[in-house]
Symmetry: C2
């Protein structure tokens, strides 16, 4: 490929990237960086004037620390509160530092309650208290109520702004109410909503009407005639993972939240649930990869420290595996080929086990793997382990034969491979189930247990069989 | 813990599981299995009469193959078409086999177009053709149009049923139209919708109005006065990942889809996007774990076969690593401690690299890692690698000293650890970026490349340094 061809390819790729048009335009980032260097505040304001808040947040995230602070300092008067809610936690800390407590408090009190609670909950206790003091009392009360709910609970996730109507209203009355409320003060109604909830005199939800149903019904019809009365009600203490599960299962766009007395206190909407789903998935991926949390925007030292813990645990298991090898030093001294081949058995076990583990951890997360079908899943994985164990016993035996032309070694590696792949399949399926049973997140700890088992069994089976059969 | 205590714990755990109340009740599964065993059709029908379609799908999935077929055979007359759309692909094949082509076709034609297209697209070509022949012509045309769009494109994802109004209509006219359409025939309107689209005479979308906005506006107001005219329009060819990104970024509940001529042809709703998000995440997790696709419901042989390929690739890399060890056979023969310690260096490199890799793959998927900040992310990871490399050089040196009391070995393992953790950090960050650059999904291939690098470098650095310094 000549240089000019390569360039054309590059240009094409860039054009394609632009075409989808949904992600942040890289030319915008460059223009912003340039304006920052020239300290051209007016140019900067012009550049981001029509950019969506979520994209401004992405832009702030893509700048480095110094640029980020310069950017926020420059546009502080035009800073949209919603940008704060869209930022990654680490980057938000930076921004809040530049804005100062007073401006942060002003921004937070303009957000809807769920976003305000989210932003505040991620500040440390001292900052939280000081920001709250700056927020007007009526907003503060609602936010403090939200903060009082447990982390990751429906109470934290819900928005307080909602539309509830009594059972005796007609469609016409609801429409008139909405129009009047909109005329008087837009703060009475939520900015956007999907369902209207019907409540009894005790403010307990008895039904829900989608707006599309309401719109196609004639004015005199009573709301109780068109409402769906079989609604799933979420308690403020319900875990957000269960909320996400319910939304997915029922294709909901919003759901009512009630307190201990069964009174309607808030509503959870699908956009917040999508964030929960993303967060859950991120947690699963990160934990399986041995990272405590997404640290893309964390400082170097903080990142190194948080990853250190996990690596230390892994060092422990690696040393354990080495102890097993150490038990067979004399065998290795006599047949050095054992040292050459032994990592193959351990590595194949680790990989096969990880396959099973991944499927099991994912199925537990989606509630598809349950005590009811656990036995069936384990038996299937065991069978898969036996089948692939036998296949790789043959494959590896061929490789070992070509390499060392020693029948004894061939037999040993084939047998060890079968043993380790079967144990890997069993451990990959049972370790996550056991952890879940004891209330430990299987995504966090499964892989370290698994590799310990497959390394120890892999080395022990191979070297042990060799000592038994070859010496 | 005594047996009775354990039982109480179990009962409590079960009670808690029931409490959240959203997932499938395990007592229901047991009752269904019992009814199936007794072949009590009436009891079975009663049990599932009030169960939501999505839960019936989960129930069908949790049964084993024979029970599943018996279940579908028994309730075939009461089988809700929507259950078909909620099933896992492998399980759906089972169900369709029992239902037969004619009943499947009847069920599919009762689904909304997006679900019908989804179900049909997962059948093999021959089945697809035969089912389509059984579907009434008017439904068939729409479904065939949907199937003509590329897999994973917006065209496949969209629903054809939508509400579009001309620019000159008022709020009152829209409401009257909806009420009349509802009176005449419910099939004109979608079952549920969130936005009304405003189109020009060429049927090109020029704006959108949320239903909550429409409901609080008085009748004489023109739709053009309240519509949002800055709408993101999705092309039928847009990849579903880009669609999901847009929905998340903008907190959308629905978005218009246009054809090449810019004409409004469909709408994508948030519930379908949530499915895409789940699918994407599942793909990422599975691929990172070396599984081609979620095979929880696949047959044993199929599962073994699909996992075999990945393990074979891994065998290749393991053999490559063994070759590296083989280069240093004479060193190992002289100092057998090298064989004992060498897996520690390789294993720590693999784990540290996987941490970096996980963060990078995830950041690429969320479009947070871009060419614009790649250099910064790589430098940071490099620094993290150096910091943790030095820390673990010391830690491992201490372990090696306690074990072998040999200063030479201590120096070698410490140096090798630094080299391998630095290389691991660099590879973990650059491999996914390079793969993405060449249009390969980084989740699929990154980890095999990474472990090859960390194994080869780990063994080579440790054994090579040992040969150089100790022999």
């Amino acid at each position: 490929m000549t240089d000019s061809e390569r360039q054309t390819d590059e240009e094409q790729a860039q054009a394609e990237a632009r075409d989808s048009g949904f992600e942040l335009d890289s030319t915008l980032i460059e223009a912003v960086e340039e304006a920052l260097e020239r300290k051209d505040a007016e140019q900067l304001r012009e550049l981001i004037a029509d950019v969506h808040d979520a994209d401004v947040a992405d832009l702030v995230q893509s700048l480095d620390g110094d640029q980020r602070r310069a950017f926020v300092t420059t546009i502080r008067d035009d800073f949209h509160p919603q940008v704060l809610a869209e930022l990654d936690e680490n980057v938000r800390d930076d921004v809040i530092e530049v804005l100062g407590l007073q401006e942060t408090a002003a921004a937070i009190s303009e957000l809807e309650t769920d976003d305000a609670v989210l932003v505040l909950s991620e500040l440390d206790e001292d900052e939280q208290r000081r920001v709250l003091e700056e927020i007007p009392p009526e907003d503060r009360a609602l936010i403090e109520e939200g903060l009082a709910y447990q982390e990751d609970s429906a109470g934290r996730l819900m928005r307080r702004e909602l539309v509830a109507v009594p059972t005796f209203w007609s469609v016409g009355e609801i429409i008139d109410y909405l129009r009047q409320a909109a005329d008087q003060d837009e703060d009475i109604l939520p900015h956007d909503f999907h369902d209207i909830f019907v409540v009894d005199p005790g403010h307990r939800p008895v039904g829900a009407v989608t707006l599309s149903r309401l719109l196609r019904t004639r004015r005199p019809v009573l709301v109780t005639e068109i409402m769906q009365s079989e609604i799933k009600v979420i308690h403020t203490n319900t875990d957000q993972e269960d909320v996400a599960f319910l939304f997915r299962q029922r294709d909901l766009t919003s759901a009512p939240v009630v307190d201990d007395g069964g009174r309607l206190v808030g509503v959870i909407t699908i956009d917040d649930v999508v964030d929960v789903i993303d967060e859950e998935h991120e947690d699963d991926i990160m934990r399986l990869g041995g990272v405590a949390q997404d640290d893309l925007y964390s400082a170097t030292i903080e990142t190194a420290r948080s990853r250190f813990t996990w690596l230390l645990v892994n060092l422990g298991t690696a040393v354990l595996a080495s102890f097993v090898i150490g038990m067979f030093e004399s065998a290795i001294e006599k047949i050095v080929a054992l040292a050459v081949l032994m990592p193959i058995v351990a590595s194949m076990g680790g990989n096969a086990g990880t396959q099973t583990l991944t499927v099991a951890v994912r199925a537990l997360a989606t509630k598809e793997l349950t005590p009811a079908n656990a036995a069936r899943v384990i038996s299937k994985e065991l069978l898969v382990g036996i089948v692939n164990g036998c296949l790789f016993a043959v494959t590896t035996a061929v490789v070992a034969w070509i390499w060392f032309e020693n029948l004894g070694i061939v037999v040993v590696i084939a047998l060890a491979m079968i043993v380790n792949l079967v144990i890997a399949a069993l451990s990959g399926a049972t370790i996550p189930l056991l952890l879940e049973r004891f209330g430990i997140d299987p995504a966090v700890a499964s892989s370290v247990f698994l590799t310990t088992v497959t390394d120890v069994v892999g080395f022990f089976a191979f070297l042990g069989l060799a000592s038994l059969l070859l010496l």
